[in-house]
C-alpha cells in the first residue's frame, strides 16, 4: 500500500483528544517499546493521536509519549505547512526506523511538549523511513524530503526518548520561544 492513501477512517474507531504531556515528564525521556500494530489498544491510540494532533493549533506530528503512553507509534500531517515539499498526508506509523538520511540542514524547532523553548537542530532533508501501519500491519517505506523529513525525524526521536533539546546545535542554540500558535 501507499501511505499517502491512508486515512484515520481506516482504523475504524473514533479518536479522542488526550492531554499533551510536557517536559520534564519522565515518559518523554525513555525509549518506547515496540507495539503490535494490530493490537486494538494500538489502533485506538493511533486514532487518539490523530485526533489530538488535529485539535492542536499548528501541530504537524504527535508521538505516543507526548500523550503519556510509552509506545512506539506517532502520527504526522505536514500537508498544510508552507515548508513542505513532499507530503504523504495524514498517517500514523508504528515501530518506525530511519533507513537512509542525507543532506542535513539546520532549522529552528519547537515542540508541544517543550512549550517555552525552541532550538536549532540539524536534520536530514532527504529521508527514507520504514514502519508498519496501525490496523492493517502493512509494512511501508516512505521516501520524503524537506519539512516532512524533519517532522518524521522529530517524531522518531520522541519514540526513542529524545527531545529536540537532545539534538541542538550547540550551547547557544536554545532560545526562549517568541511566538505561540
Amino acid at each position: 500500500m501507499s501511505i499517502a492513501d491512508w486515512t484515520e477512517a481506516d482504523l475504524g474507531v473514533a479518536g479522542r483528544v488526550l492531554p499533551v504531556v510536557r517536559a520534564p515528564a519522565p515518559v518523554l525521556s525513555a525509549p518506547s517499546p515496540p507495539v503490535d500494530p494490530a493490537d486494538p489498544a494500538v489502533v485506538q491510540l493511533a486514532a487518539d493521536l490523530v485526533e489530538t494532533m488535529r485539535v492542536s493549533p499548528g501541530c504537524v506530528g504527535l508521538a505516543a509519549v507526548q500523550v503519556g503512553v510509552a509506545a512506539n507509534i506517532f502520527c504526522v500531517d505536514v500537508s498544510t505547512h508552507p515548508k513542505t515539499r513532499t507530503s504523504h498526508g495524514t498517517f500514523a506509523l508504528c515501530n518506525a526506523e530511519v533507513v537512509d538520511a542525507s543532506r542535513k540542514e539546520k532549522g529552528r524547532e519547537g515542540c508541544m511538549s517543550v512549550p517555552d523553548l525552541t532550538g536549532d537542530v540539524k536534520r536530514a532533508t532527504r529521508l527514507t523511513v520504514r514502519g508498519t501501519v496501525p490496523g492493517s500491519g502493512d509494512e511501508v517505506v516512505i521516501e520524503t524530503d524537506a519539512f516532512e523529513a524533519r517532522a518524521l525525524q522529530h517524531e522518531i526521536d520522541h519514540c526513542a526518548g529524545f527531545l529536540f533539546l537532545d539534538r541542538v546545535a550547540g550551547a547557544h542554540a536554545v532560545y526562549p520561544r517568541q511566538t505561540y500558535l
Binding site: 501541530c59 532549522g107 519547537g110 525552541t118 511566538t179
Partner: protein, 173 residues
C-alpha cells in the same frame, strides 16, 4: 527568595564553572538562566540565580575564585522582570559581516532601536579583518519589515559591510 545576578570574567582556566557553581550551590542558590563563553580567550559568565543569600554573602563564597587576582567576581540583587514573552512582536535574525572598523554595532543597533526593535541576543566575533555580528531582534508587530531592512542595508553600505535581516521562523513539531 530573591534574584541575584552574578558575573565572573577574566583569565580562563579549567574548573572555573565547577568552582563557581559549587559556591552557589553551597549557599542553596538555584541557577536559573546563564550564559558563559570565551571572549578573546577571556572567560566570561553571567548568571541569574535565586535564593535567600545576600549578594555580599555570594561574593564572599566566590572570593576564592578571585583570590589570585586574575578573575573578577560580582554579585548584585536584581528585580524579577516577569514573563518576557508577553510583548506583541515578531522575531528576526540580523547578521552583519564585513571589514572591521569602529562603530558597526552602534550604527546597526541604532537602526533597530529607532524602529522600536528590541535586541534579545547579540554576539560579535572578530577574526583577522573579518567582523561578524549576529543578533536576535524583536520588531514590534506593526513595524515595516522591509523599511527596517532597507535602513539597515543603507547603514551597512555606509560602513562597507553587508547587513541582512530575515524572519526567525520556528517550526513546531
Amino acid at each position: 527568595m530573591s534574584l541575584i545576578a552574578v558575573t565572573v570574567i577574566g583569565h580562563d582556566r579549567p574548573g572555573i564553572i565547577a568552582d563557581a557553581t559549587a559556591g552557589l550551590a553551597g549557599l542553596g542558590l538555584n541557577l536559573e538562566d546563564s550564559t558563559m563563553t570565551l571572549l578573546r580567550g577571556h572567560f566570561a559568565m553571567m548568571l541569574i540565580c535565586r535564593g535567600d543569600s545576600a549578594p555580599a554573602a555570594v561574593e564572599d563564597a566566590l572570593a576564592p575564585l578571585a583570590a589570585d587576582g586574575r578573575l573578577m567576581v560580582s554579585a548584585r540583587a536584581v528585580p524579577d522582570e516577569g514573563d518576557p514573552n508577553g510583548r506583541d512582536s515578531r522575531p528576526y535574525v540580523l547578521t552583519v559581516h564585513g571589514g572591521d572598523r569602529p562603530g558597526i554595532v552602534s550604527a546597526v543597533t541604532r537602526v533597530v532601536a529607532a524602529a522600536g526593535g528590541n535586541i534579545t541576543d547579540l554576539t560579535t566575533r572578530l577574526t583577522g579583518d573579518l567582523y561578524v555580528v549576529v543578533a536576535e531582534v524583536d520588531l514590534p508587530a506593526g513595524a515595516d519589515e522591509s523599511a527596517v531592512a532597507g535602513a539597515l542595508r543603507a547603514v551597512g553600505g555606509e560602513l562597507g559591510v553587508g547587513v541582512t535581516l530575515r524572519p526567525q521562523e520556528t517550526d513546531v513539531l
